[in-house]
């Protein structure tokens, strides 16, 4: 299952995109309480948003973004347009999801 969930509400020529990404966003400062060892940093760095294959935004995130990042943006588009969101983490993992408005 994709880590990305989105809800798109068309309003005129603007799409209101609400996205929720399932990701721990580990800062690298936290310790595992049972072993006392540091949990390595693992957070999303780049989050791209495309409408009909054309990039409209690049989000640069850091460890200071909350766990399971929520992003709400407004992009140009109309009902039926396809919104694609993709992310890449500092560990090199990535995911992508598309949804029609």
């Amino acid at each position: 299952m994709s880590t990305i969930r989105m809800r798109i509400s068309p309003a005129g020529d603007v799409l209101d995109v609400k996205a929720l990404v399932r990701h721990p966003m580990e800062s690298g400062n936290r310790e595992d309480k049972s072993t006392g060892e540091k949990i390595p940093a693992n957070y999303i760095q780049v989050l791209n948003v495309e409408v009909n294959g054309e990039q409209v935004m690049q989000g640069n995130l850091s460890e200071a973004v909350s766990k399971n990042p929520y992003i709400n943006i407004k992009v140009p588009g109309k009902k039926g347009d396809e919104v694609t969101i993709s992310w890449t983490s500092n560990t090199g993992e990535s995911d992508e999801a598309s949804q029609a408005a």
């Binding site: 760095q45 780049v46 140009p76």
Partner: protein
């Protein structure tokens, strides 16, 4: 003559080694993508320094045309909802910063057609201003909102 030949051979060997590394996928496109992420701006301490790294300047003016929405009191610093909206024409970049966090830059958004509006949830270590920095027409503008944090959200 002999030494020059040595040097030439060494040089060509090094060049072919680099070529092999690319061919073997050691330098994958993913490394190139990660280079898009402004590492130095995120690693820098101090608001002015982080702005220098991200925008190339910290010459920033207060603006009433930026709205920063955040709660007055955040019980849990690990999840602070923040919304930043700019009505400045030509806004092409929005950054969220918290001066007292270990590194002030929280996130930055490059707009390539998207509206100058972004809403997300951030971590705050202690009570401080959430600052929205906006780049428009090559100039920088900012606005802030104080959030009282009851329990910090950086450690745990």
């Amino acid at each position: 003559m002999q030494t020059k030949r040595r040097v030439f051979l060494k040089g060509s060997l090094a060049a072919s080694a680099a070529g092999l590394a690319v061919g073997a996928g050691l330098l994958s496109p993913r490394t190139v993508l990660a280079a898009d992420w402004p590492q130095s701006a995120f690693d820098t301490e101090g608001m002015d320094n982080a702005m220098d790294e991200l925008f190339g300047s910290h010459d920033v003016a207060d603006s009433g045309d930026i709205s920063v929405k955040a709660p007055d009191i955040a019980e849990n610093g690990a999840v602070v909802p923040v919304t930043i909206e700019s009505s400045i024409a030509g806004t092409n970049k929005i950054a969220i910063m918290v001066a007292s966090n270990p590194t002030p830059l929280v996130a930055s958004f490059d707009l390539m057609g998207a509206n100058p509006f972004v809403s997300t949830r951030i971590r705050m270590g202690s009570t401080d201003n959430v600052t929205g920095v906006v780049q428009a027409g090559g100039k920088l503008y900012k606005a802030g909102k104080e959030v009282k944090v009851t329990i910090g959200g950086c450690g745990g």
